[in-house]
């Protein structure tokens, strides 16, 4: 039971990731594929942010007033891990960039073939 409580967050992200992976591979609609890609990226972002969490009264990684003026030594256990948050800020930016380019390409496909279904586009190309 302790094992399940300690690890179930990872399993949730794995399920989300598999949903996104399935959507990317099995769906024929291009917009649904893009939504699947976004779900995949969100699963990875949630995974990293959950790695940053510390039990036992840790707050956001922003220094409080007392710590800022050096009245006592900074307690590492009192703050969440800032590194995964920073890395996921970068990952969110990259995911927005890929989403934008993917949607632009989808719009171009629709303008040229007047459909977003993959099999119809393949038929039109042949």
């Amino acid at each position: 039971m302790d094992f399940i409580i300690a690890k179930y967050n990872y399993w949730i992200y794995i399920i989300l990731m598999m949903i996104g992976f399935y959507a990317m591979i099995a769906k024929t609609n291009l917009i649904k594929k893009i939504i699947g890609m976004n779900i995949f990226q969100t699963a990875i972002i949630l995974f990293f942010v959950s790695m940053a969490y510390k039990k036992g009264g840790a707050t956001l990684p922003i220094l409080t007033n007392a710590d800022m003026h050096g009245e006592h030594a900074i307690q590492v256990a009192g703050y969440l891990n800032p590194l995964p948050h920073v890395l996921m800020l970068t990952a969110i930016v990259v995911s927005i960039a890929t989403l934008g380019v993917a949607l632009a390409i989808a719009i171009m496909m629709y303008r040229k073939y007047h459909t977003l279904e993959e099999d119809e586009i393949l038929k039109a190309i042949k």
Binding site: M51, G56, I62, A97
Partner: protein, 85 residues
Amino acid sequence: MGAFLIYGTIDMPDWGDPNSPPSVHVSPRYIKKTEEETATPNMVTSVLADYRGYDTLGETTVIFTAGMACILLLRRRKEAGKAGQ
């Protein structure tokens, strides 16, 4: 593939464990020194803009490239559009 990943979680640290590897090795240094070295109370800001400034500079390049790609793809080409269609 999902089952393989779930098998991998057996060795992962527990949720919220303060002594898990990601919160033991690098981040204590950032938490302790961020006020002394950057005078910024927000650690996320200080790591993003001071310690990883080059990373953020590259990130702006990514955004610029994506924006240029969107503009180039979505721009209506007047002459080419009339001739092509």
